[in-house]
């Protein structure tokens, strides 16, 4: 393992330590996600006024856009930890990469479904083969490919490495999804929310959107913690600390 990794990080990346650590983080993260989520939903469904053009239909944005952002963000996280896993063979990085994939796939799926529902109203069709939609579909397939590859190997670590490789190859798709609206003329609209500059969106529509964004991030952390814990149990099946947990669970 690389020398420059700080000691606390090194320690944290030992499976039993991280198992305990994730167990502590998880309730806090999910509580944050739930609180912010409820606030954002209230703002989205009740406080935000109907759009003068689209009526109430635009309220899908509060689900669609944060999910779309998460689908890309999680892929980036997965790609980075996959790289770390391949280069330094750190078990924890493998697990983080592999367990991010299902969460990312869930958000991608939500993006596709909500986008389709919205498109049915706005564009009169639930699906067209334009660049953004297609590349988002490709993103879903990439996630599914990573998940499938991981589980198709008998040796989980080997599967993790193969899937990490695929994740790294697939990372070129992320900028394509993001910039597709600029590179090709698509039916899908371009950027309206600008985190650092001025957004082309009313404030009482913007704040629920941003709150929801933070809520989904917190949810990601919480879900990831749960999944990583589970996967560590499977991966470390031969170790004593896991066997103790297994034996304890049985007696319960």
């Amino acid at each position: 393992m690389a020398k420059w990794i700080p000691l606390w990080l090194h320690k944290l990346s030992s499976p039993p330590t991280f198992y305990a650590f994730a167990g502590k983080v998880r309730p806090w993260a999910i509580a944050l996600a739930l609180i912010l989520g409820v606030i954002a939903l209230y703002g989205a469904l009740v406080l935000a006024p109907p759009d003068y053009q689209q009526g109430d239909d635009y309220r899908i944005i509060f689900i669609h856009v944060p999910s779309a952002w998460m689908s890309l963000f999680i892929y980036a996280v997965m790609g980075v930890s996959a790289f770390i896993a391949l280069v330094w063979r750190i078990k924890l990085a493998e697990v983080v990469a592999m367990e991010s994939a299902p969460i990312g796939a869930a958000f991608t799926f939500i993006t596709l479904v909500t986008g389709s529902l919205w498109g049915e109203r706005m564009w009169g069709t639930w699906w067209t083969w334009d660049a953004r939609l297609t590349s988002e579909l490709v993103l879903l397939f990439l996630y599914l490919g990573v998940i499938g590859l991981y589980h198709s190997f008998e040796d989980r670590r080997q599967g993790a490495r193969a899937a990490a490789f695929l994740a790294i190859i697939g990372i070129i798709n992320v900028p394509i999804v993001h910039f597709s609206v600029q590179w090709w003329n698509t039916l899908h609209q371009g950027s309206t929310v600008n985190l650092f500059g001025k957004s082309h969106i009313a404030t009482d529509m913007l704040w629920p959107l941003l709150t929801m964004m933070v809520a989904t991030k917190a949810y990601y952390v919480a879900s990831l913690c749960g999944r990583v814990r589970t996967d560590l149990l499977a991966l470390e099946g031969g170790k004593d600390w896991v066997r103790k947990i297994a034996a304890a669970e049985k007696s319960r």
Binding site: E154, D155, R156, E236, G237, G238, K239
Partner: protein, 214 residues
């Protein structure tokens, strides 16, 4: 050991220190220490399922053992360092069944290089396949296939032979043939690791033995 090496060299050809292998956290074989010098023959013994084949695959670099050390000429065994110097004959012979033995051997020479003073016809005759050089491997009997795979050993230059049950399926003359090939290889300064269940009489003295425990 009655072989022709000058003296036991300082750095052994291959050395294992506390080598362990786990599959999904189940131990396959325990800590294993051995050293192998040029001009030395070592027999790996063990019951069915004790990990002999697994050990061989680790030594080729195809499998990766996380625990313990494996040194090749004094340095950690790594594909780039040992490749081409090790030849492996496993349960799967690595022959294309649609090609003839001659064609199969030609590919091996192309990939691994040609050992001096050998040629395919002579080698085929030596392993008892004279007349079968142009028959597809698919049509050979089990023992004939094994002989075709043995012919590869003779044609390519490699210091270390890893032979996983080379005697299986061979008749008496075939067993004798393997023993002779091993003796010649050792005398030439090569080394060999062999697994076998049968009681086999090597030429040139009693080999070193590694016992595997499941």
């Amino acid at each position: 050991m009655a072989v022709m090496t000058a003296a036991i060299p300082a750095t052994p050809l291959l050395e294992a220190r506390a080598l362990c292998f786990h599959r999904q956290d189940e131990p396959v074989f325990g800590p294993l220490d051995f050293r192998l010098d040029a001009g030395e023959l070592t027999l790996i013994e063990g019951d069915n399922g004790s990990g002999k084949t697994t050990l061989m695959r680790i030594l080729t670099g195809l499998l990766h053992a996380e625990e313990g050390e494996l040194l090749w000429r004094g340095e950690p065994l790594h594909r780039d360092r040992c490749v081409g110097d090790i030849v492996f004959l496993g349960h799967q012979l690595g022959l294309k069944s649609e090609l003839t033995p001659r064609e199969n051997l030609r590919v091996a020479i192309g990939l691994h290089g040609h050992r001096e003073h050998t040629d395919i016809d002579a080698v085929l005759a030596q392993v008892g396949l004279a007349g079968y050089g142009d028959e597809p491997v698919r049509r050979l009997s089990a023992g004939q296939k094994k002989r075709a795979a043995l012919a590869r050993l003779l044609l390519i230059p490699a210091t270390l032979w890893l032979l996983d049950e080379p005697y299986a399926n061979l008749d008496r003359t075939g067993i004798e043939l393997v023993n002779r090939l091993l003796a010649e290889h050792i005398a030439r300064g090569g080394a060999a690791l062999v697994t076998s269940h049968g009681a086999v009489g090597f030429h040139g003295g009693e080999p070193q033995r590694i016992r595997m425990h499941a």
